[in-house]
Symmetry: none
């Protein structure tokens, strides 16, 4: 696990203090790439900046984008954090141990939702994997910066445990990026709506299931091209 | 590791906010016993108490003593934290894995020094073991509450990993059988031939690629049903 290949993404954080404290936590653990999602972008007033003590480079270097889609477009693997153990969510340690092979030589996005509500169902649908921190059921809720700290710590320890961890999937060639997979999902959406397979009132649930299949399969750019060609042909069949 | 046998000891903490945040971190990880060392005892004003949100029982139940000797008198094992890797200090994870056998049926004290200076040489001398958190050498210094969080997390995971606590790693449910996957591939073959996506002279190469995607994804019976429904709908679109 190369920690430089990890993008930490904070989606619509509400409290500047949490953003600043998260920067410090990242720096403590040797991570440095931060993306802040929000429109308008969150402002960090001077009194909150103080909490990023020594990690101002992380704060000032943070990328700012409007949507989660933009934030993760260049990554191969998107991991969303959930506040509780949702079905399929992996414990942080297990995820960290697999992070290197999941990223498969590309970039890994680690996505945190807003403090109060977490990631929306739609945003979780954009994630290829979900991860949770096994806190006490009596008092499960972690502060945002603490959740960032614990996951960064797990990634750091995974990195220390495997200094040079070449991609396990290298022989098949690179993975498709999240953006490429979304292009395929977008084409399938159009085509499957055209033939009446998807319910126009609520197409997202089925699309999320299809996305999960593609992500678990760790599809290649070649396979994305194949799926997009298939979607196009389905669309033509519908238009005849 | 029984988390109820751990006494967390904060020696002369300077900032009430850190004590309150440490209480919350302990509660998050299922620990509850806190001892505050200091003479006079540290006071926690109301604005700092807010940071112990939901963990006021830990804060209000904290034992207050004047010296580290008093704090650890009833424990069998005393572990001191150091800010850096001092000779003999064990990484947090290693220490946590051994904590249960170190405590040997008695109580274990986990001791944190003051924010600015850490434990004195004399206080470290009272510790049976020392532990450190492997932070980045570029930015090693953790906030007190964050150090408490990380060590409490390691102890919690060690407790969950011990035989008495079977891990609940709920899987996604059963995999589809190879026969079920072939049924889906057969339906897709029919549908994709009907819409002219597959070349009737040689459909197998593309179908083999699709099969590889499904097999790598380790699809479930539910996902096979979804794909077969999609194939059927594509066929209907072609027949109109």
């Amino acid at each position: 696990m190369d920690l430089n290949t990890v993008d930490v993404v904070l989606v619509r954080p509400a409290r500047p203090a949490n953003v600043a404290a998260a920067c410090r936590a990242l720096k403590n653990m040797g991570l440095s790439r931060l993306t802040l999602v929000g429109e308008p972008p969150i402002e960090i007033p001077p009194e909150a900046r103080a909490l990023a003590y020594g990690a101002w480079d992380v704060l000032d270097g943070a990328r700012r984008v409007a949507t989660l889609e933009e934030a993760v477009a260049g990554t191969t693997t998107v991991v969303g954090t959930t506040g509780r153990s949702t079905p399929g969510a992996q414990p942080a340690r297990e995820l960290a141990a697999r992070a290197s092979s999941l990223a498969a030589g590309g970039r890994l996005a680690l996505v945190f939702g807003p403090e109060a509500s977490g990631l929306t169902r739609r945003e979780l649908g954009l994630c290829h994997h979900t991860v949770h921190i096994p806190t006490s059921p009596d008092h499960p809720s972690l502060n945002l910066a603490q959740a960032v700290l614990l996951l960064a710590y797990e990634l750091r320890l995974a990195a220390l445990a495997s200094p040079a961890n070449p991609s396990a999937l290298g022989r098949r060639g690179g993975l498709a990026t999240a953006g490429e997979v979304e292009n395929a999902i977008g084409d399938l959406r159009t085509a499957l709506l055209a033939i009446g397979y998807l319910n126009p009132a609520s197409p997202e649930a089925i699309l999320a299931e299809l996305r999960q299949v593609l992500v678990r399969a760790a599809v290649t750019p070649r396979e994305v091209t194949l799926l997009r060609g298939m979607a196009r042909q389905i669309g033509w069949a519908a238009d005849r």
